[in-house]
Symmetry: C2
Subunit: 268 residues, 2 copies
């Protein structure tokens, strides 16, 4: 009776599977991300079912997880690292529609074929579900289905926010919004780490944004060119609103100013 819920993904079978843990019923119970989105609110039985229905994978940077147009057979929950989701035009123009950070799912598609591509940005850990198993979980655990509905609703709201950015914000506003997103992503990751590391009371990291992706990815996410992204970041640095840190981190010196820029209330 229920319409088939399609999920998507393409991945060579077994790639990255941790053989020793495949059948570990405790895996989800012990997971860092247990309380994140999809897996929250489940009892021990539910978590065991989840562990049995999924496999944990570790994927190196640049791995194609989902290819547009391929049969949608897998569904993923990200537990570590960052995945980029994108759509492309025949001539190669590309739009990154979002980055999936730990706690986020990916792989739902409205048809039996994926409507987007997905590729790892850095080293990524995911739990992979095959579609039949996912369907079983949705039917057997109403909390799980409700979690997924809430998660998809969240993503839709994010997409609407991103449409506002793409259609109506200037380059500077786009970059400011992006940096704030990445600040939030890093803060969430820190919070999760702290919650599972009871000794260290989490030294309040001073406004650091995690930016594991390249300028090309940022440009394709913001609807700009890499040159404009680079120039805009340089301008923010000159204005002492941000500062460079090591490799893939940017320090936000003036978060309030950045927030004003992002919402179009200031032009620096």
């Amino acid at each position: 009776m229920a319409p088939p819920l399609q999920t998507s993904a393409f991945l060579s079978p077994g790639l990255g599977v941790h053989p020793s843990r495949q059948a570990d019923l405790q895996r989800c119970l012990l997971c860092d991300q247990r309380d994140a989105n999809l897996c929250s609110g489940l009892d021990k039985q539910g978590l065991a079912a989840l562990a049995q229905s999924s496999k944990r994978l570790v994927l190196p940077p640049g791995t194609t997880m989902v290819e547009e147009g391929e049969p949608a057979v897998s569904f993923f929950n990200v537990t570590q690292g960052t995945v980029k989701l994108f759509k492309s035009l025949p001539d190669g123009r590309r739009q990154i529609t979002g980055f999936a950070d730990p706690g986020q799912f990916l792989g739902l598609s409205p048809s039996d074929v994926y409507s987007f591509g997905a590729e790892t940005v850095d080293t990524v850990q995911v739990c992979r579900f095959q579609r039949p198993q996912l369907e079983g979980l949705l039917s057997d655990f109403p909390v799980f289905e409700r979690n997924l509905l809430v998660a998809v609703t969240d993503r839709l709201a994010e997409a609407q926010e991103q449409m506002l950015l793409l259609g109506r914000k200037t380059a500077k506003e786009k970059v400011a919004s992006f940096l704030l997103d990445r600040l939030q992503a890093h803060e969430r990751a820190q919070a999760t780490a702290a919650a599972h590391d009871h000794d260290e009371p989490a030294a309040t990291t001073e406004h650091v944004a995690s930016v594991p992706m390249t300028r090309i990815d940022i440009a394709d996410y913001l609807g700009l060119t890499i040159e404009t992204v680079s120039r805009t970041i340089s301008a923010l640095r000159r204005e002492k609103i941000i500062a460079n840190m090591e490799n893939h981190y940017i320090q936000i010196l003036a978060p309030a100013t950045l927030r004003q820029i992002a919402s179009g209330q200031q032009n620096g």
Copy 2:
């Protein structure tokens, strides 16, 4: 246990309610849109519950249905007409994130406050659900919850397509894509009408797009100005790809060409 699923809307109580039909248990059973998305797959009992949990409203053009930032108390299913959904920046810049045509829902929000605004484009009929009733239906009728999950997934895929348009398509490609969307919307409406009007075998309307919204709305949907929209439509008319009809309809003379333009494979 299930996280509260928030829905949104602001509407003066009772506005547009058809008093005589409020309690009509047959209403959903007899509805044109019964098989559309949310309400499909329900048995008589389910349809009766749906009818009891919702009210049918008729809203004139330009009615504010949902206002960004107001408590999210209502959820709607559109049965007639077109609603625009949008987000705005403090200085008034606006992005229309989508048009809800018959068969589409609106009103879900990730928090207890709506994250977007919604306004009728033309005369609109909707079924309105208050949040507690919606929650009840989702819990009592798994088919209904599954339908909603599928519908939200569809909207997310549309949003991703629209991000590709906003970030990476030219003005001409944007307008071509929009006209094809409106062609599809009109074809779906015709099909629904035909299915409920068994006498008339639905004279295959020759590629007509329904465009009830103004140039301002189109511009705010495509991330352009009204002048650019107007110029681009004029150019397509000059190229004999489209032709004007009465007020709010546009005839598509060369759908294949339009499709090529929309996907970036031709520049005319």
